[in-house]
Amino acid sequence: MKTQPATVFQTSMRFGLIGGGAAVLFSLVGMVEVFGQRTIIGGVVSMGQAFVAIAMLLSAYAAARQLSSVSSSAMLTAGGLTGVTVGALLAALVLLGTSINIRDVFVSASPPLFELLSFGQSPVPGMLLLLVAGMTMGLAAAALLFLSPAMRSTAISVLLAVGVVGLLADLLRIIISQWAYVAPLVEWVFSGKGLSVPGALAIAAVVIGLDVLANRRRNKAHNLAALPATALQKRMRTGALMALLLVLPLLLGTYVSEVLDQVGLYVLMGLGLNVVVGFAGLLDLGYVGFFAIGAYVMGMLTSPELGLASLSWWSALPIAVGVTVLAGMLLGVPVLNMRGDYLAIVTLGFGEIIRLLALSDALRPWTGGSQGIQLIAKPVVGTVVLDDQLKLYYLILAGCLLAGFISSRLRDSRLGRAWMAMREDEDVAQAIGINLVATKLLAFSVGAAFGGLSGAIFAAKLGAIYPNSFGLLISINVLALLIIGGMGSIRGVIVGALVLVGLPELLREFAEFRLLVYGALLVMMMLYRPQGLWPEEARKLEAHGDGDNSNGDQTAAIPA
């Protein structure tokens, strides 16, 4: 793109301003302050400071890498200069915030933020410290580039591991103290709300050790051709995974079970939307509508409150799923002719119409209006009522496994191939004899069925539903997890749900910034990794097979 190599100064300024802008934005939207209370290493570093440090590290790293062809001194200078620029922008923010009152406008520009940014010092030494910190981080980032790739990846893993364990310290503490043998470890590894210093060092040592071992094994295996896993190995792996899934909530306690339930419901919805968007390439933004219909039909049929019917959960389930499938077909018919963005908008309209209808007084006798529906039946298996997170977990797990099995069989079936052909090119698909009407409607109805099942379980889980639980944000959440995981990828759905639903549940402070981060993630994924975090093998090949330019990546990974 550039005709002349940019100078060291230009490069550092550019990356410094980008990184600094990001850091200032993090601060002003309140992320730094809110996460400032989340300690990673007790008394040393908090998540809020880590955000600032990450902005410095990443921008300096990018700046230094761009100059890696020039000279090592240029890299170091650029790294340092970029870091200082980021620090300077933050220092300017501190100066502005402490000298005049900008809190009237920017609600998050509070004294604690500036205290945090200036390391608890008074403004002037704090600002100097920021510059020094920027320089150190920048130099460190540039120095990372001098390490051998193996050592660099070890260093990054150590930072990540300490960060993640520190962040989840609260939770890990509760979990570990349940296991009698290792409980004494808790006091040693954790301090306050984060890790203790020896704890952090211990984790670093463990990660380094594991990394060295892994490297040695990899070197050894390097000489042998990688053999494909045998059927037995595959079966054993599946068995082990199943066993793990079965005992997981027992090991981790109630809170994590609740989180896993949520993740499971989103996996179900994600699998459904995956059929529509990932397999068939029909961008549906009103997917929450099917979730709502499933939940509402379940509510109407089982709640004695409305006096419509009081079936048991299991006998209402087929009706709920059936109605959702019907709704999927009905909504599918009018949009048969539409493509791309029009389809997205119309389905978004459908989703909103369903919510508005549920909310309106006009349908109050059936949907309860804004009061929603209470007293929804719980599923009963034998004599056990599935009424807590742990028991529902198994129901949701069964649902996910069923949906996953159906999806994977469908993917490899004739219908699945028809969907994918349609995704790649509708006209060609029609020309080779695919019945577009039937294929599209089947995609909508299979997708709707999974959504309806998820809704039915959701209704039973909460025991009460309200129209406002079915907003557009759910559709966006599901779409985001699909894109993060990799569209069309079944395992991607699971990864996406764990990352986008599981992590925020574990990090309560995150809830406030959830959609901000989702939005940024959607844009960044499309820019840098359109095939998702864990795409299917075939798509990976498609994405990397044709040419090495990044444009080729994008064209192959996402259907038109």
Binding site: F106, R339, Y342, L516, T555, A560
Partner: protein, 353 residues
């Protein structure tokens, strides 16, 4: 799906036709019932109509942004509703400051102009940033890709503004000169509504003149006709796209201030509903078509304002105004189904572009 254009009738077409006929019947029956019941007076209908007109002119201004961008890029700028929100929300702080020091009361016209200018500039800046970061690198990517980044950008902006300015509702200062009502041809019109309608008309006129008469406007039309050929004719396509986003952003900023004048409040979520309505308006008028967006906006505004009382009331539906938004969405869906070309446009929804 090409069957339709070949003139063959499918079952789907018949079913859809029946549904459309039924819907039209319901609307006519409802309207007749309401009108014969005489529940509303003529003055009430006039009020509803004028309010609809004011709201519709705001929709029209926002719709122009969708339409302009669609014209040159063939993409729906989902983040446009946040472009609309960012302007008046930022300008609010200036308005409040000017109100507190008494400037806004002393020089209301100058004050309002300053507020509008700030709002337009902010919206323009946001529109340009979004284009630069989220759309330009992906211009050659498949259609779904920029659509997804647009959705992402929309949420990112919404919640960034929530983080910056807080999640509460902020009330725009009230101005004495905007209170009361005037009489136009014997019809009572609130001053705010009159101002909104006139200002929107001026902006629309300016834009139309710009697109039709200026050299840049001509280039814009050329780019929307055929990008490659326009480039061969020596038009800097990137610059034209930037100009288009800037124009759309400025109009959205202006619409935002007018919206804030009518409803008196701003918040981070204010863009979503007007945004989707304006999109409906753009589709209604034929997306990519400048006069179409204006007509569509006005039509939707009036339909939405008069509609619930007109035909839902007559059908005995309680609290019809709750279904106002549902009406707009339903209309969007039906327009896309029955006449995707809109009132003034060509058939585009099924085109691959």
């Amino acid at each position: 799906m090409r069957k339709n254009s070949l003139g063959r009738l499918t079952i789907t077409d018949v079913v859809m036709f029946a549904v459309g006929l039924g819907l039209a019947g319901v609307i006519v029956a409802g309207s007749a019932a309401t009108l014969s019941s005489g529940k509303y007076t003529l003055a009430q209908w006039q009020d509803l109509f004028i309010f609809g007109l004011a709201q519709g002119s705001i929709y029209a201004l926002i719709a122009l942004g969708y339409t302009l961008v669609y014209g040159v890029l063939r993409m729906i700028n989902f983040a446009h509703s946040e472009v609309f929100m960012s302007g008046p929300y930022t300008a609010y702080f200036f308005a409040r400051y000017m109100f507190n020091i008494g400037f806004l009361q002393a020089y209301p016209v100058a004050g309002l102009l300053i507020v509008s200018a700030i709002s337009m500039l902010t919206s323009m800046a946001i529109a340009l940033t979004v284009e630069r970061i989220a759309y330009r690198p992906l211009r050659k990517a498949p259609r779904l890709v920029p659509l997804i980044t647009a959705i992402g950008a929309s949420f990112f902006l919404q919640y960034t503004f929530r983080g910056l300015y807080g999640s509460g509702i902020d009330r725009y200062p009230e101005l004495a000169i905007l209170k009361g009502s005037i009489s136009v041809l014997g019809v009572r019109v609130l001053v705010t509504q009159a101002l909104v309608i006139v200002a929107a008309a001026v902006f629309m006129g300016l834009l139309y003149a710009f697109v039709m008469l200026s050299k840049t406007g001509k280039a814009m039309r050329a780019v929307s006709e055929d990008k490659e050929t326009a480039q061969l004719m020596g038009i800097d396509v990137d610059r034209i796209i930037t100009t288009t986003f800037a124009l759309g952003g400025a109009l959205a900023g202006a619409a935002g201030v007018l919206y804030a004048l009518i409803f008196g409040q701003v918040q981070f979520y204010m863009g979503f509903v007007p945004g989707i309505k304006a999109f409906t308006a753009a589709v209604l008028g034929g997306i990519g078509n400048v006069p179409g967006a204006m007509v569509g906006g006005l039509f939707l505004g009036v339909f939405e304002s008069v509609g619930p009382s007109l035909f839902l009331d007559g059908l005995g539906i309680p609290a019809p105004n709750q279904l106002k938004d549902a009406i707009a969405f339903t209309m969007l869906v039906f327009v896309l189904i029955f006449r995707p070309s809109g009132i003034l446009g060509e058939r585009l929804a099924t085109k691959k572009a």
